[in-house]
């Protein structure tokens, strides 16, 4: 098990390193940063001054090295745009994104797990098909489009919930649905497969033969076992959601990390973009790593593979 953990950790670290290099290079290849920061109506002298001020005249690898040395200590430098430390900006916005991710995941699980159970009770029946359709629709719709539909229907037509901002818990409902719905099919299908496996096993037959109620058999005996891999999957999905929050936060004007990333991209605030990309990637890598460990702990076959 230790060997397996070390191997996975090494993979996770190298992925993290690659992400940092790629995001750094992509941002630098997107054009002359000094011109971009100076704005459309700056003079050449102003551009040169900015190039010196931000150290953009130095070789790329020097800039990268310096940045990485800071990043491992959670020091991402100062924002070009806001006169504040990037780490302060990020910490300010992180709670909003975490709240959104948690609510979205809760929504996805609450919707997907019952759908998966229902689908497994009568596989290939019309019930199964309906459950599958509801779940797959979430993945088939682009989330920004679904978000706009929610705004129009729930916000403008019905006026049940606020459309933008993050002042109260109601403000999180629509964005969480838009974000969470996308994750339902994966969770639903894994629940369904797990339930089908478990339901055909001997101990369930025994439980049924003992005369236990169907609901007790399903929830207490079957779901408990079928849900374990789903937990690991949900962790990975949470990573996806944190990344997907860039679009959703922008649409619903939630002032979290995603919104910060979007704003910073449009104003070439390179240190902030860099930090947010890295932090979101780190979350994803960490969650995937934990999911791997969880799976390996549950299923010894994975460890040797």
């Amino acid at each position: 098990m230790i060997g397996y953990i070390l191997r996975r950790a090494a993979v996770a670290l190298s992925v993290a390193f690659t992400v940092s290099v790629v995001s750094f290079l992509l941002l630098h290849l997107s054009g002359d940063l000094a011109v971009a920061i100076a704005g459309p109506e700056a003079t050449p002298a102003q551009v040169e001054q900015i190039r010196l001020e931000y150290g953009l005249d130095r070789p790329l690898w020097v800039q990268y090295g310096e940045w990485l040395a800071g990043a491992v200590q959670f020091d991402f430098g100062r924002s070009f745009f806001f006169r504040e430390d990037v780490s302060t900006l990020v910490l300010d916005r992180l709670p909003v994104t975490m709240t959104l991710g948690a609510i979205a995941l809760a929504f996805a699980v609450v919707l997907a797990v019952p759908l998966g159970v229902v689908a497994a009770i009568r596989p290939n029946s019309w019930l199964d098909r309906v459950a599958l359709t509801i779940a797959v629709a979430g993945q088939a719709m682009p989330s920004f489009w679904f978000a706009l539909v929610l705004i129009l229907v729930v916000g403008v037509q019905l006026r049940w919930l606020p459309i933008s901002g993050n002042d109260t818990w109601q403000h999180f409902v629509l964005p969480a649905i838009a974000l969470g719905y996308y994750a339902t099919p994966a969770i639903m299908r894994l629940t369904r497969t797990g339930m089908l496996d478990v339901l055909s096993s001997d101990y369930i037959r025994t439980a049924r033969a003992k005369g236990l109620r169907t609901s007790t058999v399903l929830v207490k005996h079957a779901l408990r076992n079928a849900i374990i891999p789903v937990v690991a999957l949900a962790a990975v999905q949470l990573g996806f959601m944190l990344g997907g929050s860039v679009v959703i936060e922008t649409i619903f004007a939630l002032h979290g990390l995603g919104h910060l990333a979007w704003e910073s991209i449009s104003r070439n605030d390179f240190p902030v973009v860099q930090a947010v990309v890295l932090i979101l990637a780190m979350f994803y890598i960490l969650l995937t790593f934990l999911a791997d460990l969880l799976n390996a702990w549950l299923d010894p076959k994975i460890r040797v593979a």
């Binding site: 054009g31 806001f82 006169r83 916000g155």
Partner: protein
């Protein structure tokens, strides 16, 4: 379910219910709060430390300047000053108003003006809007209510700058809290005071009851302003439709058409100072044999494009066809004095034939925004035989090429930073700088003289001559002004000006 779990569920339900009651403040006339939304936020609320429109709006509503340009008449009138006088062409003496106080109660006097101007020119101030203060050498106190401003060179446009982008800070308060503190709790003398700054979310303002009574700007009418950052255009429209916000701007034409159908929303289309133009390589910077070195070819281009049709069908709204290389509200911009080129494709062909391009020629056209406008022009050019190949680039990339002298036909725009003086426009392109593709020594000289002549009448004359020569030589084809859509609740009475400085202190509820 155990008792603990029940308790937990009940208490979270209670929290949820409490939150449900605590609804955010409603927008609108009923509680005298105007909520306005825009897509971005200023990096710092301090007016010298941000470069975005949203910051300009805050600056003009919460701060005062020495002079004020009356948006109706275009005249400069005293605001924090009472009178001013040029001692020589580099020295301006200003008498200040007495009895004015800042939002925090600090009295306004010469020390505040001297501090502000001497502070913003220091490199340590890290002013973002450098172009607005670069002309200032220093300020000196002549008396408790009298200051002297030294300019670096003769700078007649000083009056324009003193009436817009140079708000006055309170010296004592600023020195106490520093820039960081000031950005979080800024203080000015304007009709509105800033009560809260929420980085990333917005800014709250309240009518300043102590605003000096004889201000030419007048007292604000609406009690509270609330600025909200909503990045997505569709979300802003949805919020306006449901009354979550009262005022939005830069609404795309298709959404404006839809909003116009709403009973509770009003849409206002207004002209802006941004001007589209087509620059031609008259100096031969791109190639020795550039066809645009020939005045007949340049005039042919001017006659070939139906600018009115582009305005009517594509740009629409309050946009107008432009004839001079400036915007009409700018000091020195005389649209009527210059040669106008009517749409006349037959004449264009004739001119091309005379120049030796009977079968036309191939060239390259560069653009960075509104591709469809440029494509329309390319169609007109093709009709007279000029086959222009489009290069559509990001602004920064285009400007690099432009400054390197590689752009024969440049489809561009200029916004003049909303400065109402020709020096902020024409000079950028015709004073021999890296953006000059005419390189006309005579025009350069006229503009340079105009920039340093303090006598307004003489100054106007110099600019007029320069603009006439530019039009006569067809170095540049001014195309049209841009316009923008504002949309707001029909309870609001609101007027827009071309400088896109949103003057909420002049707005009121119906």
């Amino acid at each position: 379910m155990s008792i603990e779990i029940k308790k937990a569920v009940l208490s979270s339900a209670a929290v949820a219910a409490a939150l449900a009651v605590a609804q955010p403040a409603l927008a609108g006339k009923a509680n005298d709060t105007l909520v306005y939304a825009s897509d971005s936020e200023p990096e710092s609320v301090s007016p010298y430390h941000n470069n975005v429109r949203e910051g300009v709006i805050l600056a003009r509503n919460a701060w005062d300047t020495l002079l004020w340009r009356d948006p109706g008449s275009g005249e400069y009138v005293p605001l924090l000053a009472t009178s001013w006088e040029w001692v020589d062409d580099k020295t301006l003496d200003v008498e200040l108003r007495q009895g004015v106080t800042f939002h925090n109660g600090e009295p306004f006097d010469a020390d505040d003006v001297v501090f502000t101007f001497n502070y913003v020119v220091t490199p340590e101030a890290k002013v973002v809007t450098k172009q607005n203060v670069e002309w200032i050498e220093s300020a000196e106190k002549l008396g408790p209510y009298k200051v002297r401003i030294h300019t670096k060179g003769p700078f007649p446009a000083a009056l324009e700058y003193l009436s817009g982008p140079t708000p006055i800070y309170p010296n004592e308060y600023f020195e106490k809290v520093g820039l960081e503190g000031y950005s979080k709790a800024p203080v000015g003398t304007g009709p509105y005071k800033i009560t809260r700054v929420d980085v990333g979310k917005g800014v709250s303002l309240e009518k300043f009851d102590g605003y000096f009574k004889d201000s030419p700007r007048g007292e604000a009418s609406i009690g509270k302003l609330e600025f909200r950052v909503i990045p997505d255009a569709e979300t802003r429209v949805a919020e306006l439709m449901t009354g979550g916000v009262d005022w939005i701007w830069r609404v795309p034409a298709d959404q404006a058409d839809q909003l116009e159908q709403m009973p509770n929303v009003e849409v206002l289309n207004a002209e802006t100072m941004r001007v589209a133009y087509l620059a031609m390589d008259a100096a031969g910077r791109t190639a020795e044999d550039s066809p645009f070195k020939d005045i007949r070819v340049r005039r042919a281009v001017a006659h070939a494009i139906d600018r009115q049709a582009i305005v009517d069908n594509l740009v629409r709204g309050a946009s107008r066809v432009m004839h001079a290389a400036c915007f009409p509200s700018q000091f020195g911009c005389d649209m009527e004095a210059v040669k106008k080129y009517e749409y006349d494709p037959a004449k264009a062909k004739e001119l091309l034939a005379e120049a030796g391009y009977k079968d036309g020629f191939k060239t390259d056209i560069y653009a960075y925004r509104e591709r469809e406008y440029t494509e329309a022009m390319m169609g007109y050019l093709r009709d007279v035989g000029i086959d222009a190949n489009l290069h559509f680039l990001k602004y920064a990339a285009l400007r690099d090429l432009q400054r390197a002298g590689k752009v024969p036909l440049n489809s561009q725009t200029w916004g003049s930073f909303s400065v109402n003086d020709v020096s902020a426009f024409t000079g950028v392109y015709f004073k021999g700088g890296p953006d000059d593709y005419a390189m006309d020594a005579e025009v350069t000289e006229l503009l340079e003289k105009g920039d340093v002549t303090t006598d307004p009448a003489k100054r106007k004359e110099l600019y007029r001559e320069a603009l006439q020569k530019i039009a006569e030589q067809a170095y540049w084809l001014p195309l049209f002004s841009y316009s923008t859509n504002y949309a707001f609740t029909s309870d609001l009475s609101f007027e827009a000006q071309p400088d896109e400085v949103v003057r909420f202190y002049m707005a009121s509820w119906k």
